[in-house]
């Protein structure tokens, strides 16, 4: 295992050394190319003369605050993001090399995102490159609006933006068991880092379990008697967005538990084949493992800190 670790590290470093040398040709969507394509800078007044509405809108938003040295308006105003407007102002009905983030003919995703990444590469954006949204050609403007209040930045409307692509998740939020997603009390960004993450499924924490413990800290343990699949991965038993079964379980109990447990002793004691017989509910060996909370009528699934909790019974 140590050799695999070493080989992996070595591979990454070798690639790191070799790949810069493999840069064979310039990309037309590099920042330098985009700036060069626009011509000379013309200044914000020129932009405002033709686009007063957009100008008036953005100065009410965070990107339009010139007093903040980090913003576009502390630099080249509109042209910080859209590129120099020199060619644009002299060519009718042509973008003239400007980067357009919306409208009928938006610029390629790479060009749009290059402009945003000029400033936004730190913090939550560090893992953006090769994240799922990056590789699937999602542009920043698919989710964010700069000139108007952005729906993605408001908890009550954030999911609408995500549902534009993730329609299956919207349907799952209406299933009989779900998190409080459709009520707007749990939003996508409570669990997911849309700009990329270091964990699986673009989750904000390092692992799926750590993500769940953010709200379900009582399940974190460590317990005296662990239930190993619980310790390893909550999603082995639970779905996250919606389920046909209570508590977001993947299957109906006791079949859920019987995926791993057929515990039977040679003398016939222990768990037996479980089925439901409404005609004979007094068959306590079986029926009490089926109805109500089935296995959880007696067992605690998430682990036990009781010295006698070996069988997760208390």
């Amino acid at each position: 295992m140590r050799s695999l670790f070493r080989r992996s590290i070595r591979l990454c470093f070798m690639l790191g050394l070799l790949l810069p040398g493999l840069t064979l040709q310039a990309d037309e969507h590099d920042l330098e190319s985009l700036i060069e394509a626009g011509g000379a800078y013309v200044g914000a007044d020129a932009c405002r003369s033709c686009h007063p509405t957009q100008f008036d809108q953005i100065i009410q938003e965070s990107h339009g605050q010139a007093s903040d040295s980090r913003t576009p308006f502390a630099d080249n105003d509109c042209e910080t993001c859209h590129g120099p407007g020199g060619k644009h102002v002299v060519i009718d009905n042509n973008k003239g090399g400007l980067v357009a983030f919306s409208g009928k003919a938006p610029s390629p995703v790479k060009a749009q995102n290059t402009m945003c990444l000029q400033c936004h590469q730190g913090g939550s954006l560090i893992p953006w490159h090769d994240s799922l949204h990056d590789t699937t050609q999602v542009s920043c403007s698919d989710c964010h609006t700069m000139h108007k209040p952005s729906k993605i930045m408001d908890r009550s409307t954030e999911a609408e933006v995500c549902y534009t692509c993730h329609k299956k998740i919207r349907a799952q939020s209406y299933q009989m068991s779900s998190h409080a997603i459709r009520e707007g009390k749990l939003v996508c960004s409570d669990c997911h880092a849309s700009h990329g993450s270091y964990g699986p499924f673009m989750l904000k924490q390092n692992s799926l379990n750590e993500n769940c413990y953010e709200c379900h800290a009582e399940k974190r343990g460590p317990y005296l008697w662990e239930h190993y699949p619980v310790t390893e991965d909550c999603s082995l038993c639970h779905r996250t967005h919606g389920s046909n079964h209570p508590y977001l379980l993947t299957k109906q109990g006791p079949q859920l538990c019987q995926q791993c447990h057929a515990k039977v002793r040679p003398d016939g004691s222990g768990h037996v084949r479980i089925f439901l017989d409404f005609e004979d509910l007094s068959d306590n060996k079986r029926q009490r493992m089926v109805v109500g909370r089935n296995c959880s009528n007696c067992h605690k699934a998430h682990g036990s800190n009781h010295p006698s909790g070996v069988n997760q019974l208390r």
Partner: protein, 728 residues
């Protein structure tokens, strides 16, 4: 309740006041201008909605469970000054149990503070009942006059079980609501230091209080035939949690290099350490459960991103976390003391380590390469001891320890290595190909773990085409193989059983998505996916599983003022479980075919200015799900178990699980002026379900088990609302 009424009354008065103001304003405005339907920067909305019926499930997460009026309160406001000073205010569901309020202020680019308050109800069921007075307490004693019945001798259970629940149990039943409520208060601050440095911090307190259910078992008195001698009871569990979180981050936003240093802390505290209850089947027996223990988590992490060149970037993360838990142990049972234990508390300690390095490169504009290595480790340093445990609390104080199997705790540690390589080549503007390889190895360090090492290899490919300007097509596939070290079946488990997440598996995933946009106004989408898991070495347990999904969606901009959308999704989950009643059987004597299907459809539209000052919108959702379990018995393999005749009866099957939900929301907005509008809304929702695990079962329907006797929570709800929106 007083607060709710007060809130409702305040809402009514405020609404009336706003309506009066707006009527007065009407006289001063000759012609109200129609404005575009753009979101306003600042707005307040207040009003009332009225619910036609009591419906606990309808209000599960929004807090509106009872018939009657509820306040509508929503605020969104912000303001910037020329020097960058700003404040923001956001509030939703104000006045409800699900209210949220956020206030932020500061100077952009210098500093800011944020204060957030959030409430989240979880009203699960209000139809349950329990004979225990004082649900929510940590000691549950049965009331005076409660006397279990003496049962007739049963040949199946000859050694004990001579008592049952009282025949007049109904007389003692008290309502029990399964409901909890979270309240969260968060204070955060950001400080932008010179030279691209940023300091970010927050503290948060969250409480969760209420009552939930917990399963509790009693017995046995002897060390044999455990299952035959236990009783079970669903009890009210008191919930009184508090979780305090701290977060501090120091970030550097360089042009080429970015750093992100973080500390996160989470301190969980449970005010209740145990739940003691009197056995409803035998008043002489008392049992005690351990509730969730206090615990802590502290994490330090450092992330870095470095742009090597215009086309190459390196990112990495190092993280270390420490998890601890040291709640005092309870005694083995209600008849012993903590002096009998090998230690007084667990002194549980787990260290989590994570390292990640990722290199992405575009050696040419058409080619993108990525290599990522992940390392995760759970190092469980929890001390081990041998516990002479009692399976459960027993009968009349005659406790016999489970001498046969004194057990040493076996903390789980593991290490996970994962390598991801991917290449993405874009042939031209119309075609791209992505391929990937993933290797994942996990080593588990635990005596009881069935498999020490598992290895997974995955190959994936995705072909993207723009066949026409209006038509895009993606085809993708993934193939995974998992194998590992020698499988060792758990003690007392059938030798042929394979725990599915450790078992050998061949996984195939196929998918396609089509996106068609024949005009600027119309877009159509189709996505289909198929996933197949074949557990190649599993005779018992989960042997195979399939998932199917189909998604159709359409959006149509009928005109500048009318937009519409529709979708349909179908999901199916199929799997096969196999089991054996005899430990010596290596072939299954029963199989269960499980199938869950969920169909959902939605339709909606927005019509701006359908009349001069009126907007209109509608949203309809329908969801239907079915859950089937078909039992198949292999009679030739069945041994001398009882009830065989019933098992072999093909008519004895699990009923289907059924749920359906129809939700229709209609609204119209009247733009009274540039700044004032009225919103009328109607919301219809119908939910129905059939769940055989609770339907038609009373508290005493099953022998030796005390249930909660809940009813299904079907409802039909009509909600009408009227609100006024003021923009400023």
């Amino acid at each position: 309740m007083i607060n709710l009424r007060t809130t409702r009354m305040a809402g009514l008065m405020l609404t009336m006041g706003m309506v009066s103001c707006s009527l007065a304003a009407e006289e001063t405005i000759e012609k109200a201008k129609v404005v575009e339907a753009e979101p306003s920067v600042n707005e307040v909305e207040v009003g009332l909605r009225y619910l036609s019926d009591d419906a606990y499930r309808f209000g599960r997460f929004n807090g509106m469970t009872d018939e009657g009026p509820y306040f509508i309160g929503d605020v969104r406001a912000k303001e910037y000054s020329d020097n960058g000073d700003f404040w923001r205010l956001r509030g939703t569901n104000l006045g409800l149990d699900s209210q949220y309020l956020m206030f932020q202020a500061g100077t952009q680019g210098a500093h800011s503070i944020t204060l957030e308050y959030d409430q989240l109800p979880d009203y699960e069921n209000d139809t349950g009942a329990t004979p225990f007075p004082g649900a929510g307490n940590t000691t549950l004693l049965l009331p005076a006059g409660y006397v279990p019945e003496t049962a007739e001798f049963d040949i199946n259970y000859p050694k004990d079980f001579t008592s049952k629940l009282p025949v007049d149990l109904d007389r003692f039943l008290l309502p029990f609501d399964q409901e909890t409520e979270r309240k969260r208060l968060k204070l955060g601050g950001k400080f932008f230091l010179k030279s691209r440095w940023e300091l970010d911090g927050s503290i948060q307190q969250e409480t969760k209080r209420g009552t939930d259910w917990i399963g509790a078992s009693m017995g046995p008195a002897e060390e044999e035939s455990v299952m035959l001698k236990t009783t079970g009871a669903l009890l009210p569990e008191p919930i009184d949690y508090e979780t305090n979180k701290m977060h501090a981050a120091l970030r550097y936003h360089g042009k080429k290099t970015q750093w992100d240093f973080n500390y996160r802390g989470s301190l969980f505290s449970n005010k209740n350490d145990s739940l003691t209850w009197q056995d409803p089947f035998d008043l002489d027996r008392t049992g005690r459960l351990a509730l969730e223990p206090d615990n802590q988590m502290h994490q330090l992490s450092a992330a870095v991103g470095h742009t090597l060149s215009a086309t190459n970037r390196l990112t990495g993360l190092l993280s270390v976390s420490r998890l601890t838990q040291d709640d005092a142990f309870l005694p083995y049972n209600t008849s012993t003391t903590v002096d009998d234990l090998p230690r007084s508390s667990l002194d549980g300690e787990v260290w989590l380590y994570k390292g990640q390095m990722k290199l992405t490169s575009r050696p040419t504009p058409k080619l993108r390469l990525s290599a990522k290595y992940d390392y995760d480790e759970r190092d469980n340093k929890t001390p081990t001891s041998t516990y002479s445990y009692y399976v459960a609390d027993g009968i009349s104080g005659e406790i016999i320890p489970n001498k046969a199997w004194p057990k040493e705790n076996d903390p789980l540690s593991f290490k996970r290595h994962q390598l991801d390589l991917s290449a993405n080549y874009r042939f031209n503007s119309r075609m791209g190909l992505r391929g990937g390889y993933k290797y994942r190895q996990m080593n588990r360090d635990s005596i009881d773990q069935e498999r020490e090492t598992t290895r997974e290899q995955t190959l994936s490919v995705k072909w993207s085409m723009r066949m026409l300007d209006e038509l895009e097509l993606d085809l993708y596939a993934e193939e995974t193989r998992r194998s590992g070290s020698t499988y060792q079946t758990r003690r007392d488990e059938n030798l042929a059983m394979r725990t599915f997440y450790l078992a050998d598996v061949n996984r195939t995933m196929l998918g396609t998505s089509v996106y068609f946009m024949p005009t600027d106004r119309l877009s159509l989408g189709l996505t289909g996916e198929y996933l197949d898991d074949d557990y190649t070495d599993s005779a018992l347990g989960l042997t195979e599983a399939q998932q199917y999904s189909l998604l159709l969606d359409a959006s149509y901009q009928i005109s500048e003022r009318i937009s519409s959308h529709a979708f349909y999704t179908h999901e199916a989950f199929k799997s096969t479980n196999a089991g054996a009643q005899d430990k010596t059987l290596t072939t299954p004597d029963w199989q269960a075919e499980l199938e869950d299907t969920i169909d959902s459809a939605g339709l909606g539209f927005n019509f701006n200015q359908f009349l001069a000052k009126w907007d209109l919108g509608a949203d309809l959702i329908y969801t239907r799900s079915r859950g089937k379990i078909d039992m198949n018995n292999n009679t030739t393999a069945i041994t001398s178990q009882d009830s065989i005749a019933v098992l072999d009866d093909p008519t004895v099957q699990f009923p289907d699980l059924k749920t359906s939900l129809t939700s229709l929301q209609l609204w119209t907005r009247y733009r009274y002026s540039d700044t004032i509008s009225y919103r009328f809304s109607y919301w219809y929702e119908d939910y129905s379900s059939e769940d055989w695990t609770v339907d038609n079962l009373e508290e005493d329907s099953v022998d030796h088990l005390l249930l909660l006797g809940e009813d299904r929570l079907d409802y039909t709800q009509h909600v009408v609302g009227l609100s006024v929106n003021v923009q400023f």
